[in-house]
Subunit: 258 residues, 2 copies
Amino acid sequence: MDKFAKSLIKEAAGRIRSSFSSELVVESKSAANDLVTNIDKETEQFFIKQIKKEFPDQRILGEEGFGDEISHLNGYIWILDPIDGTMNFIHQKKNFAISLGIYKDGVGLLGYIYNVMDDDLISATLGEGAFFNDIRIPLLTDGLLGQAIIGINTSWVLPNKYLEHEGIVKLLQKVRGTRSYGSAAIEIGYVVTGRLDAYMSMRLSPWDIAGGMVIANEVGAIVTTLSNHPINLLVQNTFIVARPVVHSEILDEYVRVK
Amino acid sequence: MDKFAKSLIKEAAGRIRSSFSSELVVESKSAANDLVTNIDKETEQFFIKQIKKEFPDQRILGEEGFGDEISHLNGYIWILDPIDGTMNFIHQKKNFAISLGIYKDGVGLLGYIYNVMDDDLISATLGEGAFFNDIRIPLLTDGLLGQAIIGINTSWVLPNKYLEHEGIVKLLQKVRGTRSYGSAAIEIGYVVTGRLDAYMSMRLSPWDIAGGMVIANEVGAIVTTLSNHPINLLVQNTFIVARPVVHSEILDEYVRVK
């Protein structure tokens, strides 16, 4: 199943790359919007067709909605985002990813984050560790929040309906720096490889995080909602993935969900 | 001079890459701090030695201070940042750049931004256009601020001593999205290739921007201080680089320098 999933991801990525014209810069954003819609849909349909051919009894939950209606997590489920980081896809032609998690009875078995343009695949198998391409990713060590770089969007600092923004302001004054890359999958990939110490988001869908959660689990990163509850893969969630101590310090001291 | 500069940059980058251990994750940030200090210094000294050998009468302004004291812009000056994005260098082992601008009597002749780990070189020659590796970069078209993605750090949204932050809050509510990559050179590189529509910073040094300014000029990006004045390469400046219409709209409507 792991080999099959990897070959599907690489083939889908090749199709996405070849859809780009040779122009370096996306000049027309409205035309690009049409483009991305088509490629998102085509890529998801490609995955579904191949998966259903190989595993006809397994279900698929995809962002574009061509998969199954999912109301429970029994059996095998493939949870897929064909293009995570759509705005980057349109504006940058890079910094987007294919995200895929394969779950059985709610337990993550296989996880993949594939940075399409960088050709970097992060993958994990339950109980067997995680890999960045062919390199084993070491277990994350604890980190100090004062030395941390966290992935967070500027919109958090403004008054919003999800969180008390005053706590976030204090958090930003505490940490060493912030980054924002515009793709949940890529930012989760940065946390599991130690390039960010935490990544937080106010609202993510199952397909944004299902692959990353399997990987996070294998490297010792902690994943919860911002209320410190387990993620429910049937609904949208608030989200944090972080090194262990950084995770608890952020949630205990700085985050207040409304 | 262009060929010589490019070969120096590539050789310096090779030395930086080989300084990394094969470990994927930087585990000890304090040890990493020592590492980066040494590599910054060694890289600058390498450049200076080679430039002085080839062009003994030309001056060099470098971040680490091994070059010349620069109090005027007469003659040839090489303005160098051996590692722009030091925190990324330490924490991520990627997303940092060598930035180099070569000026004569204050006029930018040659500019380079080299993303060391991605092996991507953006370069420009006065009057001859700009290139991403071997691909000519097209002139930037105008953009709409409401569709723009801008590079800006979260710290801007908090009260600060440089700008009225209320205007920045309004700006963030107006644009389509924000990103933050942690390297001025890389973010300028994103603007000149159309991947960001603007990049702003409260305080940059000449070596952060000298190379990027030459490139920006060749693709029609506008570079000024946040007070809409020309950049003075002898001092630190506030900074914005953007597509033409986006540049004027941001400065006219949203930025108030204290």
